[in-house]
Each structure stands twice: as C-alpha cells, then as structure tokens.
C-alpha cells in the first residue's frame, strides 16, 4: 500500500485538477513490491509505444452518438437499433453514425453488451436477455415517447415534464428510456468489458498469453504482447475518450458520457476525492507489472480496480436515489423523475459489478430486478415513479450501500 503522505499529496492534486485549473500533478511514479509504475500511462518497447485501445475509443463514441440520437425525434426505431448493432436486422453493414470513422468500423455496442468472459462466457441466455432489454428500451423510446413529444406527461401518460428550465421525456410511469439505455450501458458494456473481461485472468492469461508475455513475445505484427494489449483495452474503456489518454486528468469526467463521466463526478465528492487517482495508479502499476512479468502485483491491481469501479456504480445509484428523495420532498416532480431514471440505469448496472472477495457481482440479476421492478422502483403503484414513496427510495439506497464500503450519507453528498 502507498504511504499516507503520498496519498495526501495526490488527494490535494486531485482537488486542483477538478477545479479545472491548468495545474495538475497526478502523475507520479512509484514502486510497489518491486514494480515501478511510470508517471503517466506510457509504455514502450524498443522506443515504440505499446499502448493501443482504438476499439474502445470507437465504442465510446458510438455510445455518445446513440445517447444523443435517442432524443432526436426524427429517428426511426430501425435507425436507432442500427446504431446499437451497427448492422441491420439481417446482419448487413449499415452507416448509422454521423461520424464517418464510426461507420467505417465493424465494431458495435451490441456485440459487447453483457459479453464478458467472466460473467457471460457460459451464459448466452442471460446475455441475450440483457441485449434484448436494451433493444426493448430503444424500441419503446420510439413507440411510447416519440409520438407524444408535444404532450404533457401525467400519471399513466407519456410525454414531457419540466426539469428545471428544460424538458425531459418520460413514459407513463415517469421513466426516461434514454437514461435506462445510457446508464445501463455503463454497466452492461463499459464496466463489464473492462473489469469482467479484459482484466479477468481468463482473458489476460488465455492460451499462451502468460508464457508469451514472460518471454516478451509480441503479438504478430504488433509492438505489444497480447496480455499488455488486453490490459490496455480495459484502460481504454475508462480513458479512451481523453484527448491525452496517457495523462487523462486534464478533463476528467468530461471525456465521455459513460464511466469516465461518473468517475469524475464521484471524485468531485470530497468523500471520494482519491478514487480517480487510486484507479489510475492501479491501472499504471498493473500494466507495469505485466511488462515486468509480475502477475501477483498485476492481480492485486485487478482487485483494486474491480472494487473501486464497482463502487462508482453503487455510489451513483445511491446518489440519485437520495437526490430524487430530496427534490421530490421539495415538490419538484420532473427533476425527481430524471434522477430516478438515472438511478434506474445505475441500479441496472449493479449486476455487472465485481466484488474481488467473491468474484461475483455485488448484486445478482435477481436482486437488481427486485430493486427495479414490482418490488422496487416501479412497484409502489400502477404509475411507477408517480406513485413512488420516499421510504422505497431510502430502503433501496440503504440496501445498496450496505454491500459496499461507503455509507448512504457519503454517497448522497447533498449540498
């Protein structure tokens, strides 16, 4: 573990960074158990960079376009589903994106949804059901929301509702499907790929990866070993949107709509001011450990990353539940529904968290369904959020926090 003095210095540095000043100093090299992490996420072999994660940057950009398109009322269901799958219903290539580079890619959001090695390698049934959840929400956005763009929402009636000076678009139960998709993908795609796939021993050590890595045998035609590359792909899901991926603190939280954004938000809460630096340092140290063939240190870092990133999901779920409770008490229905819709997506994402002590998610699919469905957020009456009780929100928030190493009060951070 790091020395306290270093943590303190890093914590102060984070605060400065988050106040968007030019000043920054998260880049410190340090050593642990004989492995030295570089100052920034920079790794070379024979003078050539070995870091590469374009595929992750591409998918984050596809997700950004999908999020925006879900509120473009001129889109058809077919067009939105093609953005999700990057192919048509018959599997033919399509060009659904504004950015031509994304159209040129054969990657897609759908193929990596609920597709991690650790959780879904032998669970094709659940993976298909989760993909179907996203397709269902996308379809319902077009079917239930788009026709009623210019109708005021009411209990049981889809339409628009004021959130401050802007309008949100909700179904008859008050849920924004676009939030379910956007926040759900944080778990089902970004987190799942990162911590349950690329950081999983089943992927890092697949085939001859470990032997090749130990001998410095690089992937064919590449400057990196396969194991190094897998680790970088995990890194790319968190920092692949940054202008300078090696040193991603300049605009922390502003580099995508997904996990990076909420890492920035959580790190902005003084209760968790260190979390971004802790995750960054673990990613650096783990990568350095791979290059040095120290798999014990590597796996220690995997445990840290899994725990901390899972916490981000839990913290934001509790934050939105508590925020919704507060604004609902102040009579601000539309704002509460928006917070509840974000909470809905983050709770959905809990199923993709990874507790390093058990190698299981912090909450199972059944527990998540219990939080969301007729026993949970949508269960206080026929009209869902319109009927919701403060006690329901508090109970779910308490249940979530109880499984993590933070309190409801720390996550809520109201004012």
């Amino acid at each position: 573990m790091r020395k306290p003095a270093l943590s303190l210095a890093l914590s102060a540095a984070t605060l400065f960074t988050l106040s968007s000043c030019e000043e920054e100093n998260n880049n410190t090299n340090f050593s642990e158990n004989g492995v030295t992490a570089p100052a920034t996420y920079t790794f070379e072999r024979n003078g050539q960079s070995t870091v590469s994660y374009e595929g992750q940057t591409t998918r984050l950009a596809m997700g950004g376009e999908l999020n925006a398109a879900l509120l473009d009322f001129s889109k058809t269901e077919e067009e939105l589903l093609e953005m999700y799958a990057n192919q048509d219903a018959n599997g033919n290539p399509v060009d659904p994106f504004m950015n031509p580079a994304l159209n040129a890619s054969t990657k897609s959001l759908r193929s990596k949804t609920a597709a991690s090695y650790a959780y879904f390698n032998t669970s094709a049934t659940e993976s298909a059901a989760i993909k179907a959840d996203f397709e269902n929400w996308i379809g319902l956005q077009v079917q239930e929301i788009f026709p009623y763009q210019n109708q005021a929402a009411a209990p049981g009636v889809a339409g628009q509702i004021a959130d401050g000076s802007s309008a949100r678009f909700v179904n008859g139960q008050g849920l924004e499907y676009n939030q379910a998709v956007g926040k759900g993908l944080i778990g089902a795609l970004v987190l799942d790929q990162m911590i349950n796939n690329y950081l999983d021993a089943g992927v890092l050590d697949a085939g001859t990866n470990r032997e090749d890595n130990s001998k410095g045998i690089t992937a064919e035609g590449k400057p990196y070993t396969t194991m190094e590359h897998k680790w970088d792909e995990a890194y790319g899901y968190l920092f692949g949107g940054a202008a300078n991926g090696a040193d991603p603190f300049t605009n922390l939280g502003g580099d995508d709509d997904f996990l990076n954004k909420y890492l920035g938000r959580v790190a902005g809460d003084e209760d968790f001011a260190n979390i971004a630096v802790e995750i960054y340092n673990a990613l650096k140290l783990g990568r350095a450990a791979i290059t040095e063939g120290n798999y014990e240190v590597r796996d220690q870092q995997v445990a840290i990353i899994r725990e901390k990133l899972s916490e981000i999901i839990g913290i934001r779920a509790v934050y939105y539940l508590e925020t919704a409770k507060q604004v609902m008490a102040a009579g601000d229905t539309g704002t509460a529904f928006h917070d509840l819709s974000e909470a809905y997506g983050f709770i959905y994402s809990l199923r993709f968290t990874h507790n390093p002590a058990t190698n299981q998610p912090y909450f199972s699919a059944a527990e998540v369904e219990n939080f969301l469905g007729s026993n949970g957020l949508l269960g206080d009456g026929p009209n869902g959020f319109w009927d919701i009780k403060a006690s329901t929100l508090e109970n779910i928030a308490q249940d979530i926090a109880a499984s993590f190493n933070f309190t409801v009060a720390q996550a809520a951070n109201l004012n």
Binding site: S19, E22, Q149, N150, A152, A162, A167, T323
Partner: protein, 373 residues
C-alpha cells in the same frame, strides 16, 4: 478562460469548495417547533402584504399595459407604436425582476419563472412556431420560445425598426405569435396575483413553523437559489464565461434590446436587497426581515454583523454595475473582467447567504446543483 489569472481561478474554486464543504450535516428528522423566539409570523405577514402582493400587483399591471400596447402595435405596426410597445416591454421586464425570486406557492405551481424568463431564447424555434402557426405554450419544451426573451427577439431581433414593422405588417403570423406571448405573460401574472389575493396569502402566513415545508424555509431557499442561479450566474457569471471557459455575450438578458441588461440587473439586485433588509415593495412599509432575523440571533461575521456583510456584498456589486455600460453584452465582449468582479462580489454573498445565513437560521438547503445531463 481567457484573461483570467490562474490565481483568480483557484480563488473561485476555493470559494466554491468552501460553499460546498462547510454546510452543516444535519440529521433528517426536522423539528416543527420554533427553534428561537423570533416572530416568523410577523415576517411572513410583511413579506406577503408589503412585498409580494403589491409587487405582483405592479407586475400584473405592467403585463396588462404590455398586452394593450402589443395589440395596438399588431393592428398598426408603425414606428410610434413600436416605440410605445417597447417602452411597455421594458417596464414589464423591470417589474418582473421584483417578483422573479418569489418562486413559492402559485408561482412554483405554475412554473412562472420558466414560462417568463428563460434565456437565451430559441430564435429558430420561435420562427418555427411563427411559421407553423400552431403551438402549445404550456409545454416545458417551449420555455425558451416564450416570455420576455422571446418578445425581446420579436420586437428587437428581427432586423432594423423598419424591417421589423414591415415584417409585422406583411405577415400576420408574427403579430399572432407576439400577441400569444403577451397574452400568456398577462394570464400567468394575473393568475399568480389572484392566487395570492384569494387563498395563498393565508396559506403562506399560516405556515409559520420551521419544517422544510414551512414558508420561511421555502422562501429563504427560493431567495438564495435566485441570488445564486439567476442574479449571480444568469445575469453575470454565464455571459462573463465563468462556467464555460470563454465569454458568452449572447447569453445576456434582453440581448436583442441590448441596452437593457444593466438596468435589469440593477432592478434585480435592488429587489434582493429590499427583500433582505425588510423594505416593502416601492420602498413603502418596512418590517421584519432576514436582516432583522439574523440581527435578532446576533449572528456575527468577523467583528461585525453577518447581515451587514451580506448587504455590503450587494452594495459592492451595485456600485460596480452602475459604472458599466448599459449593455452587459458589450461588457462581456470588451471588458469581461468588470463582470467577473461583480461575480466575485456576488459569489462572496452566496457564501454568506447559503452557508452562514442558512446555518444561523437552521434552514436546510432544499435544492441541489443539477449535474448537467
């Protein structure tokens, strides 16, 4: 953020973090019994009878005058009628400033501020509505296509005076939309006033406890929210670039009239100060106030009174604003430092109000910063 020193940036950041981190962390359960012996009831009566109701009466009359002028102008779009209509528009916009922060009761239920003064206005959306001649102005998605900012655009943003008059003369859809906007302002103002005069005054005065739903707690929150978000951020900080890294001159209030923004700011600032110090509307009857409440509690700031520190911040901002051009757009373009100095004065005021005052009054903040997504 150009032309702003790093040390100023850090200073602002520290102020912000001070505001965020110094709030007391109270328990959820809230007492409904009085927490001190200050006469909250007398303050509520003063707020209702000497401030809110006469201010809404004045505002409603100004919207009636605006509607009358608009109707005349639409029938006969001449330079003289335009001038009269614009004068009525300016008067109503100024009158609005006195009631904007009273976002409690009927104004809260109706979303009055959202339907009255969301800016920058959506000019493309306005032209779309003019063209299709079909709109539902009760929808939240139309906040930025109506109210004073939209009227400002239609009266002063379509072109020269002659072009504007020609447009209204040749295409009745412009006049129809302008009338619809003026009618809606008048209707909302009238309904809000009627609610106060009929039932809400009694409701407001009777909720004299100290729970989150009590009138003092809600009104104080509305006041601090408005000071922070509308006065400090909307009128000054956003155009000065505090939240964006570059200045946003087109985001000033009444940008199409252009010479009105300073006066609207000063009206709003004066309204905040009058309400705080216990002045009635129009400087008439004075009464119990946030200032007298803080003084009753003996709330100190350093060697002096907190209430005086708060008034000082408003006076400082006012003094600076009075020395600026009548157009805050012009200041944002050529002299953003002057707006930043006002912002700093007001930000210090926010810290005194939101942290020190709310702690002294034992009022919890009931709003949170939207996280922007």
């Amino acid at each position: 953020m150009k032309k702003v020193s790093l040390s100023k940036m850090i200073g602002l950041a520290l102020l912000l973090s001070a505001a965020l981190s110094c709030t007391p962390n109270e328990e959820e359960g809230e007492a409904n019994e009085p927490i001190d012996n200050f006469d909250r009831s007398a303050m509520l009566v003063h707020w209702a009878d000497d401030y809110a109701i006469p201010a809404y009466q004045n505002y409603h009359q100004s919207t009636q005058a605006l509607l009358t002028a608009v109707n005349t102008y639409v029938d006969n779009p001449t330079a003289a009628q335009h001038s009269a209509t614009h004068a009525a528009f300016r008067e109503a916009y100024r009158a609005w400033q006195a009631v904007s922060f009273l976002a409690i009761g009927p104004a809260e239920e109706k979303g009055l501020r959202n339907f009255t003064n969301v800016y920058p206005t959506d000019t493309a959306g306005i032209l779309e509505f003019v063209n299709v001649a079909s709109y539902n102005l009760t929808l939240p998605s139309t906040f930025n296509r109506q109210g004073f900012p939209a009227i400002d655009y239609l009266l002063s943003g379509l072109g020269t005076l002659a072009e504007t008059n020609t447009r209204f003369g040749n295409d009745p859809r412009y006049g129809d939309y302008l009338q619809a906007l003026a009618e809606r302002l008048e209707l909302l103002a009238g309904n809000t006033l009627a609610d106060w005069e009929n039932d809400y005054r009694q409701t407001f005065v009777s909720r004299d406890g100290s729970s989150a739903a009590a009138s003092v707690n809600k009104m104080v929150n509305d006041y601090v929210f408005h000071f922070e978000k509308e006065l400090r951020a909307g009128k000054v900080g956003i155009p000065a670039g505090v939240f964006s890294g570059n200045t946003l001159p087109q985001s000033v209030e009444a940008v199409y009239t252009d010479t009105l923004s300073q006066s609207l700011f000063l009206r709003s600032l004066a309204a905040h100060r009058n309400f705080f110090t216990g002045m009635g509307f129009n400087g008439q009857a004075s009464g119990e106030s946030l200032q007298s409440y803080l003084d009753y509690l003996g709330t100190q700031h350093g060697a002096g009174l907190l209430s005086e520190a708060i008034v000082t911040q408003m006076d400082l901002a006012e003094g600076r604003a009075q020395n600026l051009a009548s157009s805050f757009r012009q200041e944002a373009e050529s002299n953003p430092q002057a707006l930043l100095a006002i912002y700093d004065d007001l930000q210090q005021g926010v810290v005194y109000l939101k942290v020190d005052m709310l702690q002294a009054l034992n009022v919890r903040v009931d709003y949170i910063d939207a996280d922007g997504d």
